[in-house]
């Protein structure tokens, strides 16, 4: 299977882009942008020591955005013959006829970049050693993880899922203003969800890790995390409804932060869908919380030299000492607010048009307060290790959050007993206001962007049980 890995790095995408540009030059569009994504993906799924599935793909697609009479049209294709590209261009132009005409529609201009310097980030996105790992190595890594996890404790009854996946991708962009750019990245991700049983009770727990090079994945950490999470919830009980202080595990906290991140985009603010509208300069957090969207973080998996419109990425401080400092902008929303693009145009793939989104978005950790310190300060509270239903239970527009939670009850500064089937309910602004302590254990969770948070203590949250 080793040959599945061989990759002739496609130096030719820029040539393909130029060819497409030539075709676009012949049309009557005013401006255009060509986005080519080329990627190789491997995925291994292990079940009981055997390869459950192994998949490989080499895929390429182009997205074409045209501007005609200040209207935008979009179309994409996975075929690159001249007639396919012509069809694709024609469809994009046809689409442009029905979209709204706005003066501020158009490609980014150089003087609209907030970060004028092209960041030196490319070398951190890509690790040559990635290609040294054979598919056999990846299978071995996954099998070892299963073995290590199962050996951790007798109560572990099985693996619910164990997935290894990696990606090599190259993004190439060109536009009619003369922008040409490309970057490569490698990444791998290993995820484990285990099941443990004791008497009649079953519980699950997950662990994961990501690296630029598969050999660097720390199996002990993944297995340890999944095992710990799963075992500590065995024998859990329902509790009576009450209001309590809750301590959010760093991964749970980062999922909450993801909801907050989604309404800090200028797009949601301008459309009146954000609770942070008209709140620039206001103190939202009681504590002096600092929140960044850092698109050029060396170990950030959403780092890139330029965004989905070709604008330089940078490090944007969104909250400074608890005060809302700025929203995140792409070129269109920046023109609307008469400001500069923060380089936050994103696209999920060549299939989507650019939209405003986060990159590496995180709460700055405390330099001195550990999870243990926070725990010790709690007399009666709930340590939340897992939440379910965040997407159904959180309404980013109304701000209401109500999610199912599992975890451990805290009594006099230490863990007392495991808790299940409770919901915790709050709203986004109270959540921010009531953060009482921040831990030093920043951890990132890949969801949409790359969202990170340390453990957080929140005062007075409604916990409902029986």
């Amino acid at each position: 299977m080793a040959e599945l890995l061989k990759k002739e790095v496609a130096e030719k995408d820029i040539d393909l882009g130029r060819k497409i540009s030539l075709l676009l030059d012949k049309t009557k569009v005013d401006e255009y942008e060509v986005y080519i994504s080329n990627s190789i993906d491997n995925e291994v799924e292990i079940f009981e020591g055997e390869v459950e599935s192994l998949s490989y793909s080499d895929s390429k697609g182009v997205g074409i955005r045209v501007f005609k009479e200040k209207k935008i049209g979009y179309s994409y294709s996975t075929s690159f013959e001249e007639n396919n590209i012509k069809d694709c261009i024609e469809k994009a132009i046809l689409n442009s006829k029905i979209t709204v005409e706005e003066d501020i529609n158009g490609l980014p201009l150089r003087n609209e970049y907030k970060y004028t310097q092209k960041p030196e980030i490319e070398k951190y996105l890509y690790n040559e050693d990635f290609f040294k790992a054979t598919i056999e190595d990846k299978i071995e890594i996954s099998r070892n993880l299963e073995k290590i996890a199962k050996g951790k404790d007798k109560r572990i009854s099985g693996v619910d899922s164990l997935n290894y996946s990696d990606n090599f991708s190259e993004i190439t962009m060109l536009n009619s203003h003369g922008f040409e750019g490309s970057y490569k990245s490698t990444s791998c991700f290993l995820f484990l969800n285990i099941i443990s049983k004791e008497k009649e009770d079953t519980s699950t727990g997950f662990g994961f890790s990501y690296e630029r090079d598969p050999k660097k994945l720390d199996l002990e950490v993944i297995a340890g995390e999944a095992t710990k999470k799963s075992l500590m919830l065995l024998g859990s009980k329902k509790i009576k409804s009450k209001s309590a202080d809750i301590l959010l595990d760093n991964l749970v906290a980062s999922q909450f932060l993801g909801i907050i991140a989604s309404i800090l985009t200028a797009d949601s603010v301008q459309k009146g869908k954000s609770l942070f509208k008209n709140k620039i300069g206001e103190k939202i957090f009681k504590l002096n919380v600092n929140i960044f969207d850092n698109g050029i973080m060396k170990n950030g998996y959403s780092s890139k030299p330029f965004d989905a419109e070709g604008v330089n990425k940078g490090n944007t401080q969104i909250f400074k000492d608890g005060v809302l400092n700025t929203y995140l902008y792409d070129c269109y929303t920046a023109r609307k607010d008469k400001t500069l693009s923060t380089g936050n145009a994103v696209r999920a793939s060549y299939k989507s048009t650019p939209a405003v989104g986060v990159s590496n978005f995180y709460i700055e950790p405390s330099s001195k307060t550990s999870l243990k310190d926070i725990l010790k300060s709690i007399d009666d509270g709930f340590y939340v290790t897992d939440i379910i239903g965040l997407h159904s239970g959180a309404n980013s527009i109304t701000g209401d959050i109500s999610v199912g939670a599992k975890g451990l009850w805290i009594k006099n500064g230490s863990f007392d007993f495991p808790v299940k089937e409770v919901t915790i309910a709050t709203d986004i602004l109270s959540f921010c206001k009531n953060i009482e302590a921040i831990g030093d254990d920043l951890k990132f969770f890949p969801s949409g962007g790359f969202i990170g948070s340390p453990s957080l203590l929140i005062k007075d949250i409604a916990v409902s049980g029986i």
């Binding site: 599935s53 895929s59 996975t78 869908k273 159904s392 209401d400 089937e421």
Partner: protein
């Protein structure tokens, strides 16, 4: 797209080093997506996708590759690479391909890719205007109109050769209403495996009106109660609870992995006597219907639970071989890029006998859940959570104030035994279901049902 001879050549190449099952899945798709937001057509996008997925099974392992191309040389090359994963010396041969038949046949009248963009624009503007006219409290309207035309071709080494052409059209409307400091949202969608004739049967403005009404109704919502209460779940989208909390546990990959509470339960009583649940991919024009599943198996109607007794799982080829159970036509995949696995199609609790009014009348104090904002479940345990997006208090057998911020939390298998009454008003609702990173079209459904008790999470008392 691809002829039988080429398909057979590729299949033989896949099996050349001893693979036990080989498959080619070819897809050609054109899609259009138009989005209205903030009173304007913000985005109009189209896509052309062409590609092929190759699958090889040897013992318990699946090997998969896909390419964005249908060229014979490239297919043979990929098949050769995949075959190298198997180290058995005996080459296997593919059986002769014979055309598969399906009971599912629909007639498309207005092919969506041929509908002019201006007409599509008109639909969205009409939706926007209707929703905004519903009340001065309507603050924002977002609507999406999307359609696909898709040609599919599936051939496998066991002689299956299936072809399908399908059409899908979807309109989804999101509405935000504001009154004072209260912000509420409403959502409604209309989706069928049909062309634009869809909008002659149900008007886009009806969908807009329903979404708007939901948001408006919820403006006066009070905090939801919390605690254990009887709950009535309304018809249609209420079926999402069964889908999430039970349906996923009946998908046979979870059974094979010993990750489902329904393992070894076939023939056993798992629900109240009155519960019959069905997965039926043959319902004409329904959103979750198809002619063949992603493995070329014809669609069929499967009774999952019959009068409270577990009757069947949902299977794909791999789990059917492993569990030695017949295929059910549920091996689905998002696209040629994806490995198929067991999925639901149109899944619903079957119609009952009781009048919805009488069911409501039987509850003194409880919650009526009409619409949900989605849900999540751990299939290994059956634990679930659902956010109620439109819900009401029940007081002395009558609907009371709307409630906000409510979730239902519980355990699927436990709830199945707590279904006390089933109405005669079966209805369906379209949506998308995500699993292992793949999203497929689904319909959920149910009549009005009453659950004797379930934990309601809210902020009130």
């Amino acid at each position: 797209m691809l002829d039988k001879n080429t398909a057979k050549k590729v299949l033989n190449k896949l099996l050349c080093s001893g693979g036990q099952f080989g498959e080619i899945f070819v897809q050609r798709k054109v899609s259009n997506n138009i989005r209205l937001d903030d009173n304007k057509i913000e985005n109009a996008s189209s896509g052309f996708e062409n590609g092929c997925g190759l699958r090889l099974i040897y013992k318990d392992s699946t090997y998969y590759a896909f390419l964005d191309s249908l060229e014979e040389d490239k297919l043979l090359e990929s098949a050769k690479i995949l075959s190298a994963a198997v180290n058995s010396s005996n080459a296997n041969k593919a059986m002769n391909l014979s055309d598969s038949a399906s009971v599912y046949n629909v007639n498309i009248l207005k092919y969506p890719n041929e509908v002019l963009p201006d007409i599509k624009k008109g639909i969205l503007l009409n939706v926007n205007e209707t929703a905004r006219n519903a009340s001065s409290n309507i603050f924002q309207v977002t609507a999406v109109l999307s359609d696909t035309e898709e040609e599919i071709f599936i051939a496998n080494s066991e002689g299956v050769f299936a072809r399908d052409f399908n059409v899908k059209t979807l309109l989804a409307v999101n509405v935000i209403a504001i009154k004072g400091s209260e912000i509420r949202t409403g959502y409604k969608s209309l989706a069928k495996t049909k062309g634009f004739e869809l909008f002659e049967e149900k008007k886009p403005r009806t969908v807009a009106k329903q979404a708007a009404e939901m948001a408006i109704n919820m403006l006066d919502a009070i905090n939801a109660p919390s605690g254990i209460l009887p709950v009535i779940i309304g018809p249609g989208f209420g079926g999402v609870i069964f889908h999430e909390a039970c349906g996923h546990g009946l998908e046979a990959d979870a059974i094979v992995k010993n990750a489902s509470v329904f393992k070894d339960k076939i023939g056993k009583k798992i629900a109240s006597d009155i519960v019959t649940a069905i997965d039926d991919s043959t319902l004409p024009y329904h959103w979750g219907s198809y002619k063949f599943d992603g493995e070329g198996c014809p669609s069929q109607k499967n009774i999952l639970i019959e009068n409270g007794v577990l009757a069947s799982y949902l299977l794909d080829i791999k789990s059917s071989k492993k569990l030695n159970l017949p295929l059910t036509g549920n091996g689905r995949r998002q696209s040629y890029r994806d490995i198929p696995f067991p999925r639901m199609s149109n899944t619903f609790i079957n119609t009952g006998k009781e009048k919805p009014d009488l069911i409501l009348g039987s509850v003194k104090k409880g919650v009526y859940a009409k619409e949900f904002s989605g849900g999540q479940v751990d299939p290994a345990t059956g634990d679930f959570v659902f956010g109620i997006s439109e819900g009401y208090l029940i007081e002395n057998g009558k609907l009371g104030s709307p409630i906000k911020g409510a979730t239902l939390i519980g355990n699927g298998p436990e709830i199945l035994n707590k279904i006390e009454a089933i109405g005669d008003d079966l209805d369906y609702a379209p949506g998308f279901c995500g699993k292992n990173g793949q999203s497929v079209s689904n319909e959920v459904g149910q009549p009005t049902i009453k659950i004797s008790e379930i934990t309601v999470g809210g902020t009130g008392t």
